[in-house]
Symmetry: C2
Subunit: 136 residues, 2 copies
DNA sequence: CTAGTTGCAAAGAGTTTGCATGGCG
DNA sequence: CGCCATGCAAACTCTTTGCAACTAG
């Protein structure tokens, strides 16, 4: 094994994610969320470790410079396609059936094997759609 | 109007894209492709201008640091969802019918309005799937 | 005690910007 | 000729890394 250590920083990070696993956070937000319990570099290092373990997913929002990370360690998230709201950043899971049918349809029509762990659907969630109301 | 100028750099850039509109390029690749015909900053500036005009789309590949740009100015690309191969970077259009059904299904099941211009499906294209053959 | 981890600060990579010069119309 | 775009280099932002000190097991 590689990581046999349970450091305070790592615990803090995992707890942070576990309590909010339906949302993606920037490193800056994580730093604030941990309130000094871990340094930026420790966060980055743990983040990439968790990413390799498959517990955290890294995404990028079009138009933003920084990366966003979200917890996908729970069974609940396993293999699901995620949708991220370009307005509020909320990330939700796509219904399993719908996801499966998408994979099948795309594969059939284009011979393209979607990687559900890498793919993120961008759009506007119901709440932000309301808020917008034609604005922008 | 804003951009009334047809500079050599801009022309070179547009030609570069037009001759290869089914592929996404990093700025580095574009620089090389233009062979000194434009400076890095001119490329970036034109790129973001083209992006605002809706002729070029910026995407990010999971695991890569740089942004990729591709031409979507042709009617052919209008409103289509794009699929990018995480192995070779090839970008192709999703069949219109399939795309429409995805939009409808997702909207129906999750009240989420996908933005087709922001969304990129990541996966492995047929060719790379063959090449892999269990490798990696 | 030993090896993995942390924190800090410096280094990197990619992208953006200020400013004087040059080119388009 | 006037204004916009270019080039260059410096500035920036986000992320990674080197290294000594620290801590979990």
């Amino acid at each position: 094994m590689k990581s046999a250590y349970h450091t305070q920083q790592r615990k803090a990070l995992e707890e942070f994610f576990e309590s909010r696993h339906d949302h993606a956070f920037s490193v800056e937000e994580i730093v604030k969320g941990l309130g000094g319990k871990a340094s930026v570099s420790a966060i980055y290092r743990n983040l990439s470790a968790l990413e390799k373990e498959g517990k955290v997913r890294k995404t990028t929002v079009p138009g933003e410079r920084e990366a966003y990370f979200q917890y996908v360690g729970c069974v609940h998230c396993h293999g699901h396609i995620h949708m991220t709201c370009v307005d509020c950043g909320a990330t939700t899971h796509l219904d399993e059936e719908v996801a499966a049918s998408i994979l099948k349809n795309v594969s059939a029509s284009s011979s393209f094997a979607i990687d559900p762990t890498a793919t993120v659907l961008y759009g506007v969630c119901q709440e932000c759609a309301k808020k917008r109301g034609g604005v922008k």
